[in-house]
């Protein structure tokens, strides 16, 4: 869903005159949403910009993406990177497991301390409507 949302926003940005480039790890979704230019890395979802704590790979991906932004001449092009994920992962990604958590309608936080910080700054009503 994220790949779709980003692809659609990229199209709108480009239509408004902004050069865009979109990272992707979900080829079929990006192909369908069809943003102006995309750089595909064959990684598990959640690592679109590179594996964690691998700054060299992250910089290489950002560089390849921005190079594509200034060089692409074909609308809708998707260019694969050569980076490989270090472990097997695709069989698990293809299993029909619903990994989603319930879609809460109130603000969600990674840590309780983040909620406390948001309440202090923005007040309980905005930051935590059900406290």
């Amino acid at each position: 869903m994220c790949h779709q949302s980003v692809g659609l926003i990229a199209r709108a940005l480009e239509a408004s005159g902004i050069t865009t480039v979109t990272l992707t790890s979900a080829w079929s979704i990006t192909q369908s949403a069809n943003p102006p230019r995309a750089l595909f890395s064959d990684f598990p979802l959640g690592n679109t910009a590179g594996p964690p704590n691998a700054p060299d790979v992250q910089i290489a991906i950002a560089r390849a993406a921005l190079d594509l932004a200034v060089s692409a001449s074909e609308p809708g092009i998707i260019v694969p990177t050569e980076h490989q994920w270090p472990e097997p992962w695709k069989d698990e990604a293809r299993e029909l497991i619903d990994h989603r958590t319930p879609r809460e309608a109130t603000p969600q936080y990674e840590r309780m301390s983040d909620m406390a910080a948001a309440i202090e700054k923005h007040g309980e009503e905005l930051a935590c409507p059900v406290c």
């Binding site: 980003v6 659609l8 940005l13 902004i18 964690p52 700054p55």
Partner: protein, 169 residues
């Protein structure tokens, strides 16, 4: 048509996986945006990369400590993350992807340190004052297009960015 993946790449087809999962659960099939017959606009960059201002736009539910978190139900708001933010003040909240990598290193979904390194090296001209983040697991394409999309487009123009680097999860 949209560009097919090279056969040897064999990427996971998440549209098919989602379709099959929903079918098993008895849900109606989700109607994905299909622009394969609608080529996107293509705007050539106005300047070389080394003179361009880049704005980072990411959908992984990234927020800074002190920000109000995202809801997980078609949240159509965005957050603005100062481009000089210490990376360890960034957090994620999302319902639909494995956040393990993002929690270990925010750059997996918000490559701010990579972009800062490119600016320091002179490869990129500058970064916009802020990056724009949202929780991209939005089912309603209509509401996305009516609310979040125009807000992002307006902000990118106000920030006078030349190039947008878009990062979904």
């Amino acid at each position: 048509m949209g560009q097919d993946a090279p056969a040897e790449l064999d990427p996971v087809d998440y549209i098919q996986v989602t379709h099959d999962s929903y079918a098993l659960l008895g849900y109606d099939a989700y109607r994905w945006a299909d622009n394969t017959e609608e080529p996107p606009a293509l705007v050539p960059p106005a300047k070389p990369l080394s003179e361009s201002k880049v704005v980072l736009i990411a959908s992984g539910g990234v927020y800074r400590v002190g920000d109000i978190g995202f809801t997980h139900k078609d949240d159509l708001t965005h957050r603005e993350i100062a481009s000089d933010v210490p990376s360890d003040e960034l957090r994620v909240t999302h319902f639909a992807y494995d956040e393990t990598s993002a929690k270990a290193d925010i750059n997996a979904v918000f490559p701010i340190d990579a972009l800062r390194a490119m600016v320091d090296a002179g490869e990129v001209g500058s970064l916009a004052d802020v990056g724009l983040t949202f929780m991209g697991g939005i089912y309603s394409q209509r509401r996305l297009g009516e609310t979040l999309t125009p807000a992002i487009v307006d902000r990118v123009h106000e920030l006078e960015a030349d190039i947008a680097l878009m990062v979904p999860v």
